[in-house]
């Protein structure tokens, strides 16, 4: 799993995750993403490269969203890959994140 973080200034930050968002990388993910949420005003996480996601990976997104909301910041998930969509769907959590989801035909 790799996370690329690009701060485009003005407190806006774009992270894109590729590979497996699984328990094996959950701790690393927490360490990379959460400081990003703390630092920035607006965070956008690109999920297009996520090949696999399990509950641990999902929890990190949940945590990031919670922290962001608590601090009145915005956190968006964009370009969901099929693997992430499936998880959001199974957990019935698409609306919690409230991001527009593009369903591929």
């Amino acid at each position: 799993m790799t996370i690329e973080i690009e701060e485009i200034g003005n407190g806006v930050c774009r992270a894109s995750v590729t590979g497996e968002m699984t328990i094996y990388h959950a701790a690393a993910m927490k360490e990379t993403l959460l400081p990003c949420v703390a630092r920035c005003r607006e965070v956008e996480i690109n999920l297009s490269g996520v090949a696999e996601m399990d509950t641990a990976g999902f929890q990190i997104l949940l945590l990031a969203k919670r922290e962001a909301s608590a601090a009145g910041k915005s956190l968006r998930l964009v370009a969901h890959s099929p693997a992430t969509l499936e998880v959001l769907d199974l957990f019935g959590m698409a609306s919690y994140f409230g991001d527009p989801v593009v369903i591929s035909a």
């Binding site: 399990d54 509950t55 641990a56 929890q59 919670r66």
Partner: protein, 722 residues
């Protein structure tokens, strides 16, 4: 793949093999006793557990197939489908198929190949055919009667799930359970509750903090739904409310859950289980109940068992309580089993045995030093040490010992299948299953045994008509037997069939040029000819045996284990093939003998007695090589001559009487040096052609001693006599 995952998969592999083995045994039991409830349960358990574990690894092909088998078995277990020979045959095939899938997807890390999948589909169709043919219509469970409170909600189940923190670390993912639940019915709505997630700093990324409230529509019964979560049962908080549950139950649910009551009420309303009005009623009732509960606690006369209360309240169905009790019992038994066995990697054992080998050598060296120093205290210590080392050695070697019974039991299936294929009725008898031998030997003996058993069934056992005309029962018998005999294990494969035809073998051997026409051979030598490469007297080549490949492979396999094989046979009565193998391949008790400057060791188990050669006998035996041992002839070998030893002749000569496979022989040596723990070190390849030496060992003094290959020496004596 990650290392932990790898290990988990390995465990899955081992467990599924064991389960499939258990399933096979149970199915064979069922064949003889269709009413054996335990066996039915064992078969079901195997299919069910494999399905569950495979689901956790996302091995969909296995899950899909095992699911079909499980459905059928469920009906069999409840008595809706009768157990027939056909059913068992299909189930046996289903077990094989699951085994093949496990091999292909786990062991070889690939996808199941197309032919296997096709075969699987065909099998699944056959399994389903049994399901549809079971004419008994399944009665739908009557809707639970409600009393008081009135039924609320709709026709869906309500499942409350709170996962324990450690489920993820234990390799279980709530996702897979929900995914699997989805295969049993329709998830109407699901609410994920992350409330248990602690503040950022305390949140462990590898812990699970999630809870779920699920509305689930399905025809499955409560047990089935509960079984979805069987693997996390101990680690999660699970509550299942049947459709049309009473208001009270929802109140209880809300009370018991950790989250805020009002919030839960809202979730229930949102998912459509209860109407807002009902919700308000509930919250009201709930506070009243809490008040009455407190007063009740003070004067409770008799307290019925928890299970009973639950049933009375309509909270759980009766069979569910029974199932739970049964499960607890199983869990206890399982725990007891677990404490009895410990899985250890074979490499660790081998390492330990190597170390013990070194310990034995260095112990002998210490003993020698002590003797040289003549320090009495030291001598005493080293002798105690030697005894302890002895025990450690025995104990360590015993760790590797396994009973041969398990290997034998596998042949039940082989005999059954091959018997059907050949159209012969053949039974298998097993004896001495508790005989123990080294694990590495057990692993390597399976193939040769398989060959011998198939051979016995194909060529040995005659057709039913012929058997009846010979006055034998129509059903043939193959026997597998094992026992210990002077330091080796003897495994016999016998049949009560037609026996070997001496004349036919001789004729064939002549034709192949294996023997010359004027040779006279003993029966055993004639029979031994069938172990020559390319030898087959079968008139017809069947797909089971008869191609003449194999018997020579059997012999070379057994010889590679330092074993021997021999045949006893009587025409029209039967054949017995006897395999002799050394008990262990690493350390033996040896008997040391000196010849000139060299030291030789014979396995102590083979040494019968020792005696000095009298001067008269020494004079007498110059010309020939046998002596009179209490009236019987004892052939012997002078090791000095046999190995062309240098060094001056000793004053005395001793004869060591050794025995192997019922044959006695004498070894004439100069000096008897007594017992010695011998760590067998294999000889290099250059010495491969050496006859009469099987290995070497290092003595305490650092000298090298050669280990005698007693069977080969005896053999050479016998052939020299002919």
């Amino acid at each position: 793949m990650d290392k932990d995952m790898e290990q988990a998969l390995q465990t899955f592999l081992v467990e599924s093999r064991e389960l499939l083995q258990a399933m096979e045994v149970a199915l064979l039991d069922l064949e003889s006793d269709p009413n054996n409830k335990d066996a039915i349960a064992a078969v079901f358990r195997a299919a069910h557990t494999i399905k569950g574990s495979a689901g956790l690894f996302g091995l969909d092909a296995i899950v899909a197939f095992a699911h079909v088998a499980e459905n059928l078995l469920e009906k069999v277990r409840s008595g809706n489908i009768a157990i027939t020979g056909d059913l068992i045959a299909v189930l046996l095939l289903a077990g094989d198929h699951i085994g093949a899938l496990v091999d292909q997807t786990v062991e070889r890390r690939g996808e199941a190949d197309a032919p296997t999948l096709l075969a699987g589909e065909a099998l699944a169709r056959r399994l389903r055919a049994f399901l549809t043919h079971s004419a008994m219509p399944m009665e739908h469970e009557s809707i639970l009667q409600s009393s008081g409170g009135g039924p609320v909600g709709r026709d869906s189940w309500h499942i409350s799930l709170r996962f324990g923190h450690d489920v993820l670390k234990d390799g279980m993912d709530p996702l897979s359970f929900i995914r699997y639940l989805g295969t049993l019915g329709k998830i109407v709505s699901i609410v994920t509750l992350p409330d248990a997630m602690p503040p950022l700093a305390d949140m462990d990324a590898e812990c699970c903090y999630l809870g779920f409230e699920i509305e689930f529509k399905s025809d499955a019964d409560k047990t089935t739904i509960e079984k979805v979560f069987e693997f996390v049962r101990d680690e999660c908080n699970l509550r299942i409310l049947p459709p049309h549950s009473r208001l009270e139950e929802f109140i209880r649910l809300i009370n018991e859950l950790p989250e805020d009551n009002t919030r839960l009420g809202e979730i229930l309303t949102n998912s459509g289980v209860v109407t807002p009005q009902e919700r308000d009623n509930m919250l009201l009732c709930q506070s009243m109940r809490a008040a009455t509960m407190e007063s009740e606690q003070h004067d409770a006369p008799t307290v019925p068992p928890l299970g009973e209360i639950l049933v009375q309240e309509g909270m759980v169905q009766k069979e569910l309580v029974d199932a739970a009790l049964e499960k607890q019992k199983q869990a206890r038994e399982h725990k007891a089993q677990e404490s009895k066995y410990l899985r250890v990697h074979a490499d660790k054992l081998d390492e330990l045995i190597n170390l013990v080998g070194e310990l034995v050598i260095i112990g002998a060296s210490a003993g020698l030093q002590a003797k040289r120093l003549r320090n009495r205290a030291l001598l005493e210590t080293t002798s105690t040490l030697a005894r302890l080392v002895d025990e450690i050695r025995d104990g360590t070697l015993k760790l590797r010992m396994v009973q041969i019974g398990e290997t034998f039991n596998r042949f039940n299936r082989v005999v059954r299948d091959v018997g059907r294929e050949l159209g012969k009725e053949i039974g298998l008898e097993i004896g001495g299953g508790e005989t123990e031998l080294d694990k590495s030997v057990v692993e390597k003996i399976g193939d040769p045994l398989m060959h011998l058993v198939r051979n016995a069934m194909d060529h040995g056992i005659e057709s039913a008509e012929l058997r009846l005309s010979r006055g034998k029962p129509a059903k043939g018998t193959v026997r597998l037997n094992a026992c210990h005999e002077s330091g080796s294990i003897v495994i016999e494969v016998s049949d009560d069939g037609g026996g070997l035809k001496r004349e036919k073998i001789l004729a064939k051997a002549l034709e192949k040029g294996l023997i010359s026409a004027n040779q006279t051979l003993s029966d055993r030598e004639v029979y031994a000819l069938i172990f020559e490469a390319g030898f087959s007297t079968a008139e017809a080549v069947t797909n089971i045996s008869g191609r003449g490949v194999g018997m020579d492979v059997v012999r070379s396999n057994i010889e590679a284990l330092r074993g021997t094989v021999e045949i006893d046979s009587r025409e029209a009565v039967g054949t017995t093939i006897r395999i002799r193998l050394p008990l262990t391949l690493a350390i033996i008790d040896g008997f040391m003998m000196g010849v000139g400057n060299a030291i030789y060791i014979a396995p102590l188990d083979m040494v019968m007695e020792c005696r000095q050669l009298t001067p008269a006998e020494r004079q007498d035996t110059r010309g020939h090589n046998y002596i009179d041992l209490r009236g019987s002839v004892l052939p012997f070998i002078r090791l000095r001559e046999h190995f062309h030893c240098q060094g001056k002749l000793g004053k005395r000569e001793n004869v060591v009487v050794v025995q192997y496979a019922g044959q006695k022989a004498g070894l004439v040596v100069d000096e008897l040096m007594g017992e010695f723990q011998t760590v067998i070190k294999p000889l290099g390849k250059i010495f491969g052609h050496l006859k009469g030496i099987s290995g070497s060992t290092i003595l305490g003094s650092g000298e090298v001693a050669l280990i005698l290959d007693v069977p080969a020496l005896i053999q050479s004596l016998i052939s020299a006599e002919c």
